[in-house]
Structures are given as C-alpha cells and as structure tokens.
C-alpha cells in the first residue's frame, strides 16, 4: 500500500458512518496501517491526524499505548508465543527459547532479513491448547519444541 492509498482508505473509513465521533475512527485507522505496513511511522500518524482532524500527539500516544500496534519495524510474520500461566506451566518458555535460538534473535526482535518477529506474548485465550503460538492470524496449539522448525518452515524459513 502506498501512503496515498492509505490516505484514501482512512477517508473511506471516516465516511463510513460507523461512529458519531471522528476520534473513534482512530483505532480502526491505526489497524489499517498496522495491517498494510511493516511499521506505523510518523508519516502514517500525520495522515491519520490530518484526516481525522485531531492533534498529532493524540494519534501517536494511542499508537504507542497498544501492544499490537508496531511503531518499530516488524517482520512479515509476527510470531507470538504465549508465556502466561497455563502456557508457562505447559512449557511455553521453552517454545519461546527455541524460536529465538533458531532465528538467532531475542524476544521482541526481528530477523535481519525482515521475515520474522518473535514476541513473548501475554494470554491470547488459547489456554485449552497450551502452550499456544500464533503466527500472524494463524494459531498453533499444544506446541512441542520439536514442532518449532516445522512451524517456521511453513512460513518460508530456510534455516
């Protein structure tokens, strides 16, 4: 998506009539940026602020508040490994370590080729399948350490 296309999408959103208040379109607008760009940067923040007619700082503080909005560059595939209680009890921390070991990065980092970001994540409501992992919107349940390379290969890991 180009920035001009992004601006058009935000305009379209604003005219959808979904909310009686302009500012309420902020989270949906940030979601468009999150889904279509590797990071939400100052240019997108500026476009949103202009289109919704709200101060820049109010866009930026919201972009930075929510964990799912990436204001730092993310990989094509965001791997979220749950380490909350039920997943931890069932080995989630080992799964996280294995992803990091194979990709050579620490939690929160992105591989140099821009393919993968690994995140140590809080509960995603998949506790009946603990330990749980998601890659973008795909779910993996009852993940074992030996499943980790298979999951990575599915998303184009060459390692």
């Amino acid at each position: 998506m180009t920035l001009e296309e992004f601006r058009l999408e935000v305009k379209k959103l604003k005219n959808s009539g979904k909310y009686p208040s302009r500012k309420s379109y902020l989270l949906p607008a940030l979601w468009i940026a999150e889904k279509n760009f590797p990071q939400i940067n100052s240019e997108m923040i500026k476009i949103i602020a202009e289109e919704l007619e709200i101060p820049l700082v109010e866009v930026e503080e919201v972009a930075r508040f929510y964990a799912m909005f990436h204001t730092e560059r993310k990989g094509n595939f965001v791997i979220r490994v749950c380490t909350n209680l039920s997943c931890m009890l069932n080995g989630g921390e080992e799964i996280l370590k294995e992803f990091c070991r194979l990709l050579g990065i620490s939690p929160g980092e992105t591989t140099p080729d821009g393919m993968f970001t690994v995140e140590s994540y809080e509960c995603m409501g998949l506790c009946d399948g603990a330990p749980a992992v998601t890659v973008n919107e795909e779910r993996f349940s009852k993940v074992k350490v030996e499943d980790v390379p298979k999951i990575l290969k599915k998303f184009g890991w060459k390692g």
Binding site: L27, E122, D128
Partner: protein
C-alpha cells in the same frame, strides 16, 4: 445437565444464521418486539437473577433499568468482548461458535434500554472471531434483525465490531469506553457509571459476551425457569474455562455453584499424570489462590467471596505438585506490570516492586523480610484507581500467606527448589 449456553456449538456451521435460526434462534427477538414492552423485558431479566459474567457479577436487569431510566440520547449498547483475563477463553467459544446468540441478546438488550447504536469491543487477539462476528452481523442485517425498523417495528439498532489492539486494561468498562472513543485505555473515575455517562458521556450499557448469550433463552423460557438453575442467589448456567495441569483442559458449562473439586476432577479429568493437586486460581489471574483442602467450594460469586477469593471470569487455573508457586505468582504479576496503564501510583509502582521482589526470591537472592514487604505493598495496592490494581496483588499476597514455607525455602536455600540446576 442440559446444555444451554453451549447448546449450539457442536453443530456444523453453528456460526451461521441459518443453523442458529433452525434451532429457534431470533424467536426471542420476535417475541420481545411483538409481545413485550421494554419494561417487560427488564422485569423478566430481573426475575431471572442473571448477574454479569464478565467478573463483577452485577445484576444485569438492574443495569438495564438504570440505563432505561436515563433520559439522555442517544444511548449506546456495548458488548465487552475484550476477553483478556489470563486463562479465560470462554467468550471465544461463543464468539466463534454461536455469535448469533450474543448478537440476539444484544438486540434484545438494546430494545429494553432504548439504545440506538451498538458496538462489540473485541480484543485484537481474536482476528478469527472478528471475521465471524462481522459476517454474523451482515447476516443479521440481511434478515432484518438489525438496522432501521427491525421486523417492521419502530425499533432501530445498528451494530459494529470495534477491534481493540492488545491492552488488558480495556476489559475494564470505562477504559474500554475511552478506547472506543479513540484514546489510550485508561479507566475513568466512577461514578458516574457508564449507564449514565459512558461512550461520549451518553448512557452506555456494557455487558459481557456470556451475559448476553443468556438473554435469548431467558426470554424464551422465562426468568423464573432460569432462576431455578444453580445457586439460588446467583443462578444460571456458567462457562468455566479450565486450564493448566488438568487432563482435559477446555470450557465446561455447569450450573453456577458447581463445586470446584467436581469441575477439576470429574469434568476436566483430574491432574495430568495423576500427580497431586497443589493449588488453584479459581477466577482468573487476579483471584486469590486456593489450596487442595479448600476446593469443595461452590463456584459462584458469593461462595468464592466468602472463601476469600473471587469468581471473576470463572477461569480455573490448576497447578500440580511439580509447579513452583513463586514462579506462578511471578508470572502473573509480571503480566499485571505489563498491563498496568500507569495512571495511578499504587498500581504502576506496586506491580513493578512486586515483580522485582518476586524475581529475586525466585532467583535465590530473596530475604525473609521480603515477605512482609510484599504484604505491605499488597495492602497499598488496594487503594488503586481501578480494579486492575486492586486485584493484581491477590495472586502474590495469597500465595505468600498460604505457601509461606515454599517462599522461605527459596530464601533459605538460595535457589528455586523446583529447578533442576
């Protein structure tokens, strides 16, 4: 027991409107619009004794009555689908497998309270649920259950999905409203309560997914029938998500008041590898821990409060004898530190200090006086601005009280006894 909330979930394509309607879906909405006044609906819900399933257990009928009596317009009806309490995954089942039950419940609620617009505030971590809900809403519009002049009456109601973006605090209803308004999810002072001053400071009803899924069946079979299920002062069926070290983790629908022991050992199959039960958090991450000799407690709001803990979302987290209680408490308080919005000092600083102290205990460099410091911080956190901080210390303080020996063991031996190295 007859399944009520999970009656549809096993059916093929249970998320589709045809399947829902085939088993009587949207008949309650028809009944409400054709035969009942808004006051009749509120009265029926009051008779049912339904209490909110999001965690606070507030009587739903009373909440609706407050909203209906407010004269400000327009009014908003919000479904809290920001299911973020760790180890809670009950609403996910309804959202993905029976979305029309909650949507029908919402439309009925909007009619009863006079709400014109509705939003489902869905947690960002449920992208599959988002697609399902959006499709379900479109289906409901096509059939004339949403939009202008529903089923040929004067009643109009529009409904949209609003996606959160990964903030636990937005499950708190006033933070949710702030987020819906396009702001950081920080809670507001109460009162005023959302029923009088919520979204855009207009009357706003906020109900949990599971609460709303109860509504069609209350209308269909009557409040009186419903009130006879489960605990008398807290009736109805309840979804219990069970996870951790049980043989069959999952969501179980049982009457309110089912003993915790029965849920763990009969329904969830007992402890993995037939190990010994060590501890249970009976109502999500912010509930106080229960020990094996306390699990005969009935799972409902008043009984758990009496036992010094809470029902919360009903999420049951089970630890076995090989699990370290310090590590478990640490993981939960790390979660709360991450999710504290930072607005008030007791929560922002309290969660941070509890993490630091628990980390040093778990790493073997804790001191005996740390235990008293933990309890003192915990007491201060009771004064937090919202429920997050008020409850976040519960898993830590309760484990210090009930598993004091294990904490001391960490301190004295200078290491975590559950780690092999």
């Amino acid at each position: 027991m007859e399944k009520i909330l999970l009656r549809n979930v096993e059916k093929e394509n249970s998320h589709k409107i045809e399947v829902y309607m085939k088993s009587g879906g949207y008949q309650s909405l028809r009944k409400v619009l054709k035969e009942m006044s808004p006051d009749d609906v509120i009265e029926e819900v009051k008779i049912s004794g339904l209490r909110g399933r999001g965690g606070a257990g507030f009587p739903t009928g009373m909440k609706w009555e407050f909203a209906s009596q407010d004269i400000k317009e327009p009014k908003f009806f919000v479904c809290n689908a920001d299911e973020g309490e760790p180890c809670t995954f009950k609403d996910r089942v309804i959202i993905e497998k029976d979305p029309h039950a909650m949507i029908e419940g919402m439309i009925i609620g909007a009619y009863a309270t006079g709400c014109r617009y509705g939003y489902i505030y869905l947690r960002g971590e449920y992208p599959i649920g988002k697609k399902i809900l959006e499709r379900a809403i479109a289906e409901a519009y096509e059939k004339g259950f949403l939009g202008e002049n529903i089923l040929g009456t004067d009643f109009s109601f529009d409904l949209h999905v609003h996606s959160g973006a990964g903030a636990y605090i937005c499950g708190e209803e006033t933070a949710l409203i702030e987020s819906l308004e396009g702001k950081r999810g920080e809670p507001r002072i109460k009162p005023p309560f959302p029923v009088n001053a919520g979204y855009l400071w207009k009357p706003t009803v906020v109900n949990n997914v599971e609460t709303l899924a109860n509504i069609p069946v209350i209308i269909e079979r009557g409040g009186k029938w419903y009130s006879q299920i489960g605990s008398p002062d807290c009736p109805g069926p309840k979804l219990f998500p069970v996870s951790g070290k049980v043989k069959r983790p999952g969501v179980y629908e049982l009457p309110m008041g089912t003993p915790l022991e029965e849920i763990i050992f009969e329904h969830a199959g007992g402890i993995v590898n037939d190990r010994k039960l060590k501890a249970v958090f009976p109502g999500g991450a912010s509930s106080s821990v229960l020990t094996p000799d306390e699990i005969s407690v009935p799972m409902d709001f008043p009984s758990l409060a009496k036992a010094g803990t809470m029902l919360g979302s009903g999420a049951i987290m089970v630890l076995d004898e090989t699990d370290c209680i310090v590590k478990a408490a640490l993981r939960l308080i790390e979660f709360f530190r991450h999710e504290s919005c930072g607005k008030c000092t007791p929560c922002r600083e309290g969660t941070d200090w509890l993490v630091r102290i628990l980390r040093r205990i778990e790493n073997g460099s804790g001191r005996e006086e740390d235990l008293e410091i933990i309890l003192s911080i915990s007491e201060t956190m009771e004064n937090s601005f919202c429920g997050l901080g008020m409850a976040a210390h519960n898993p830590v303080a309760s484990t210090v009280r009930k598993f004091r020996e294990e904490y001391l063991n960490h301190v004295k031996s200078g290491r975590c006894p559950f780690r092999s190295v």
